[in-house]
Amino acid sequence: MQTAVIEFHGVTKTYYKPFRKGGIAAVSDISFEVSPGEVCAFLGPNGAGKTTSINMLMGFLFSDSGEIRVFGYPPGDVRAKAQIGFLPENFAFYRYLTGPKLLRFHLALAGKIPSLAGPLIGNLIAKVRLLGYESLKITKYSRGMVQRIGIAQALLNDPQLLVLDEPTSGLDPAGRKEVLDLLVALKSAGKTVFLSSHILPEVEQICDRVVIIDRGRLVRAGRMSEMLSTGDRIEIVVDRLSAELEQWAIQSGATIERSLLGIRIAIAAGLKRQAMESLWSAGCDIISLTPLKSTLEELFLQLVDHGKEPA
């Protein structure tokens, strides 16, 4: 059996402020695992505890209780960190360094000899589309360029696990697509990716596993294919719909939308045969019939309690 790359077992973290009674629970009793080669999305609304969890995973913060293991080691262990590429939420940089100098510095931190890594740095700079900006100090970079150099530093040292906190933040659509393509390439290369993002349709395309947290608590964790199950609703598109049939459909719990392409009826899968027969009998032309698949965004909105105070 393969050891999980990331393991969270009953992890709790509370922030305490001096001179204040009680604390703020950032993360409460969270447990999940990420297997090797998986791309895992770590989702939650703002303030859900995602960054706190990632900071604990990286060993920047210590949990109050519970256990975290990365490659079987405790967070912060250099044996684990040697296999991790990390991109923080807001990638901070040394203002006086250029992109290649920053990468050389990080290579030295990884225990490599930077002077021997010219081609590697050149390739990474090219990969993140920063060729031609080698002599420009990072302080003069745009937000997207900073994010790209951050991604380049995360890819240094060919990591087995990539921990990316909002990797597409600050990027234009083309930049976002490049990051997604990169993630797909990493997935094909068998790397494990643990990323937090707010752009759910993009996450849905590439992730194998989803972990959703809200108010510091685990709401749902599992494989994407299992979570976005199909089969409970179908969509029938017809050219016309009589008033009687519309009445029946609404009473059966269907939703009806009219568009230029036709009338879309979303109805429970159990009523498929009855609905089809009624539509045929009424002389409607059925343009299409598709099983409705819930999206990650729908699931997320369904699970997460936006703005409501906890009971």
């Binding site: 900071n55 990286m58 060993g59 920047f60 913060l61 210590f62 912060g76 250099v78 044996r79 960190k81 040697a82 991790i84 590429g85 990390f86 923080p88 807001n90 990638f91 901070a92 940089f93 040394y94 203002r95 006086y96 510095f105 990080h106 030295a108 931190l109 990884a110 225990g111 000899i113 951050g150 530093q153 921990v163």
Partner: protein, 267 residues
Amino acid sequence: MKIRAIALNTFVSLVHNKIIILFSAIFVAVILLMMTPLLAYKAMATRETASEVQSMAIGLVGVIMSIVSGFGSWLSAWAGADAVWSEMKSGTILAVMARPVRRWEFLLGKYLGVQMLMCTYVVCMFALSYLLSSMGGAKIHSSPWVLLVYPLVRYAAYSAIAMLLVMFMHPVVAFAVVLVISTLASIVPPWTGAIPLGPMWFRKILYAVLPSTHLLSEARFLTITQAQLKTVAWTSHLIALAYGLDYALVILLLAMWVFSSRSLLRD
């Protein structure tokens, strides 16, 4: 390799630090201003007034050298406090500590970076001492290493204290505390009773706890008026310097211990 990279990066970062640049600019301006009367004295000297002008000039050189030495204490305290805090404030520490770097390696690298800055400062201070002495008509008859190593060890102790304090407080407060400590340390020796600091037992405790600036002062071996090194056995130097390094090491280890269990995020 990792510690060296962090030390070099810290040094470059401190050289680019706006507060350090500002302080240094003010310091250079003050030194230049104070050199003006020194040059004026020299220019005014006639055969009759030569010895009087020379003694005034040497007095001024002594004051300037004290200021230079005092500024070194400020610089070491601020650099020590800011080196770690600025990384936490900006968040650059996160990408650094995500690398296979142990916390003690990071802190040691930071500390060595601060010492690189202080080395540069001490070398400049040394050159200035010789320059001023020659301008003031005196000669320094001393082993140069005393003027180099003693301040360096003293500053090493101050920066270690600042690094420890910044684990618990804002760097400005840590900086101020180090200054208070350095001032206290200079007036606390039990044999200097000019400033009332409570009963003798209290003074003795303070003297034991605070870094002995008296012991680590190069001024012990240098009389500016004569600009000559007092003859002291090498074992005496060894003991004094070992004391300073030991003090700095203990404080640095304490800082490393605190840092090992501290959040890397700004509180």
